[in-house]
Symmetry: C2
Subunit: 344 residues, 2 copies
DNA sequence: AAGCACAAAGTTACCGGTAACGTAGATCTC
DNA sequence: GAGATCTACGTTACCGGTAACTTTGTGCTT
């Protein structure tokens, strides 16, 4: 049995200090580079750190100092929707580069899941929370207010947020799409999206869209896929349902590009081509749009950037630096060629 | 100035106990439902918990009891690749339902990022770690071994893992695709993927693929997109590069379905249709495949289930229950109609 | 050579819970 | 009715760090 040079199991600061022949406090100072020790002492301590494979216990540090942890709780509805995955990627990369860790929570689009997650994650004394959406359970709001930590609400811009909001105005983006399609002459419009029992950004888009279409004298036929992820197949299936409902539709607006692509494929499968036979509009300018032969009419949103800005907002709040109450990262309409001008 | 009923800021167990007129220990017992207190005492304590809005400090609990935390570190290369997003979703949902929290780490496909993340996350005393891939930095391996906690390596099945492995045999999946395409008569094959400076599952697939193709007397022309996310556009662009290289290629195997779709679109843009003019094969059976007019030849992998099983493995290890050293969740080839039988 | 400033340590107490053990009073047993 | 047992608590110590304070030693002034 040969003795291993590196110890298994936990090595505490006290053991390092004992091995180096100094006090815990001196070892602590060395490890934090705080100063107040000689070069010789530093070398002695660091040598033992390496030898013993010491890993600091951040739990103890966070707990002891009253200094907050480096956790940031991030809640996202689901990851099946590429858009949210990108936002999360933007957040985690930026947070990570500043030494913070993302504690993930998938809320499945329900306020109850969100509340329960908030309760749990708060009990871990996070530095702050980034949560998706602006509508929360009343209890959740109380929890967040009482916690007294930075809260960044993302996605749907909230001009009077709990703390800080980063996102875009989804209502406006829907409205702009509605106005654009109305302007092209479309009157009989359709909408295909998913439905979760929550007021969310997608429903805000739909509201804005309907307002613009109705203002223009048109109508909107809606089709929802219940409790589904806003991905390709629900777009395909939802379109089938919508077209089977009997009402004639000249142009369909989808919850996002993935659903729009699914819809495009369904239309093609029954011999309808866009934009000749039917108009197709998506939302989000998702990666797939870049490879389609005809540019998909959509709304461009800087997803990754949105995540990064949310993380920057969190870091600013944690450093005590100022940050706007509401930061709009903006969107713009991409006309595309999956719709066309039609006779009013 | 009206007094608010609910206190802001932190309320400690000691304060609750004092308010209820009992000792900290009794309050602690009530909160944990451990027994050893009267109904009257329970009610008194719970009333104060509600009144003061007490939230337990799990940091202190985890720190104190020596009981491990409920954090599970999960490292994933990136989220731009839908496949990983789905795996993560499977993991987080399952972990969450057992009361564990996911601490996310995006390693950007580099062993250095992974090592630095492992070091950081270990210092938070997680209950366990789920990490993607089987090749790690030597230091990272030491860290994991010394940490003495459950480690589940996912994605690329490892028959002699650090601890537990959950995944599929990527080499075999590539081999099977290679054999299938060879069997159809394809000899001049192409591969389009991304390249990161790490031995990863995708390169194992390519190795298996090449072996099978070479065994069948064929050749493989490779095209890599450096440091890119395996998504639609790199597939499009990589195909352009491959076809521009001059060598003639009858059929292209892609790193995944998203890239295959990108490739399909590029081919179409230059007048090549699959399977008539060129064969196209993907990998992963991603959501988009469900809405394409011609079934994409691919390898089906149960992504979400893989994540769930990984989480189950972790939970089993944490509960001290047995779990296989290596659990193969399996794959199967989907013949599809984006390839065809050709003259040998 | 006494006095002082400062560098380089060590000591003590504490963060918020929980394990382990102690104890007073009620109930049971024979 | 004395001892045994049980219930319902309270006390103490500790987890692994760090803040705040104290002590020791060294060199420099004057």
């Amino acid at each position: 049995m040969t003795e291993k040079p590196v110890r298994t199991g936990k090595v505490s600061l006290a053991e390092v200090a004992r091995a180096a022949g100094v006090s815990k406090m001196t070892a602590s100072r060395v490890l934090r580079g705080e100063g107040g020790y000689s070069d010789k002492t530093r070398d002695k301590v660091m040598a033992k750190v390496d030898l013993l494979g010491y890993l600091p216990n951040r739990l103890a540090t966070a707990f002891a100092g009253g200094t907050t942890s480096t956790f940031v709780g991030v809640s996202i509805p689901d990851l099946g929707n590429e858009v949210f995955a990108q936002v999360l990627e933007g957040i985690d990369r930026k947070l990570g580069s500043f030494g913070y860790q993302t504690v993930l929570g998938l809320t499945q689009h329900t306020a109850e899941e969100e509340e329960s997650w908030i309760r749990t994650v708060l009990s871990w004394q996070p530095a702050g929370l980034i949560i998706t959406g602006r509508s929360h359970a009343p209890n959740a709001i109380d929890l967040l207010k009482n916690a007294g930590l930075p809260v960044v609400e993302i996605w749907d811009l909230n001009s009077s947020p709990l703390d800080t909001s980063v996102g875009i105005n989804h209502y406006d983006s829907g409205f702009e799409m509605g106005r654009y399609l109305s302007g092209l002459g479309y009157r009989a419009l359709g909408y295909v999206g998913t439905w979760h029992n929550t007021a969310n950004a997608a429903s805000a888009r739909l509201d804005g869209f309907c307002k613009a279409v109705l203002d223009g004298g048109g109508t909107v036929e809606r089709q929802f896929c219940l409790n589904d992820t806003a991905s390709y197949y629900p777009g395909y299936y939802g379109t089938e349902q919508l077209l089977a409902s009997g009402t004639s539709v000249e142009c369909i607006f989808y919850q996002n590009d993935a659903m729009a692509f699914g819809g495009l494929q369904y239309c093609r499968s029954i011999g309808l081509e866009a934009p000749a036979d039917i108009g197709i509009a998506g939302w989000g300018d998702m990666p797939i749009a870049a490879v389609l032969p005809a540019r998909l009419t959509s709304i461009h949103v800087p997803h990754i950037r949105l995540g990064q800005v949310a993380a920057e907002a969190m870091i600013a709040r944690l450093s005590g630096e100022p940050f706007e109450t509401a930061r709009n990262v903006g969107f713009h309409l991409i006309p595309g060629s999956s719709v066309r001008r039609v006779a009013g």
